[in-house]
Symmetry: C2
Subunit: 158 residues, 2 copies
């Protein structure tokens, strides 16, 4: 029994309505929570978070279930910045109404600020910040304007 490790897997109950974000890279759930804008002042529905959960596909993964919230396209693009393999399931009345994998392309535009305060995109000009995705595991971005390399993008989301 010890070898099968039967109780390490965190099982979270199904939700009636809301969003399940699965296959989050292990350890990134708390950053996804930041992306979702969840903090002590705006919690109105139940959230369950599993960190370091056994996964056939990833070895270990994180998972988040949020009741009564359907996350939008922009949030899913931002989630791709920290968890490029995440899947989003929109649940309605216990059924998965929509399911898709987040997409992290070669470029991301308008999702996050450049961390260089002198970058043209931080000077009030009508220019959307744009980054080249130079690495996916872990995600690393390079500003297309000032070439600043950004690793922790979740602190600078738009």
């Amino acid at each position: 029994m010890e070898d099968q490790n039967p109780i390490k897997e965190v099982r979270l109950t199904p939700i009636r309505n809301g969003t399940v974000i699965d296959h989050i890279a292990c350890g990134q759930a708390l950053n996804v929570v930041k992306i979702l804008g969840i903090n002590e002042n705006n919690i109105y529905s139940s959230i369950s978070i599993g960190v370091h959960v056994s996964s056939k596909a990833l070895g270990w993964k994180d998972i988040i279930k949020i009741e009564d919230v359907e996350i939008d396209q922009k949030k899913s693009e931002q989630i791709a910045l920290v968890a490029p393999d995440a899947t989003i399931s929109i649940v309605r009345d216990f059924y998965v109404a929509e399911k898709y994998k987040v997409v992290l392309g070669d470029h991301v535009t308008g999702l996050a600020r450049c961390t260089n305060p002198n970058c043209i995109t931080n000077k009030g000009e009508p220019i959307l910040p744009e980054f080249e995705v130079t690495s996916k595991y872990p995600v690393q971005l390079k500003c297309c304007y000032c070439e600043k390399v950004v690793n922790h993008i979740y602190d600078n989301l738009l």
Copy 2:
């Protein structure tokens, strides 16, 4: 059935060994995670976090279960700073080996820094920071040396 709200309650599976922190004030689980020092770089065991979970005693509460970690006395005193009603259960081989409620006294000493950079406790003197607990719901502290009032103590823990 709708009135009974049967699926809003997040049930988390039992753990074999580790710590359960229950009766956390609703919305404070993520601050308790900060207190525990958990971040993407130091996750080695499974953690399940329930936020906004139905509770008979508190109405709504948060709960955290951490596999293979037994939190110590200092951490439990720090948890009291954000969740004064929290209970700590140390679980060994599926049984609760120890269970206690965190204690937030009238004074706390040596748990957190004063946020006033000019406070004597931040000047390298051999003085432990000490606060008077001026409110428990929410927790508010007042420095016994400079009288600075501190609300978000979890960012300044020692």
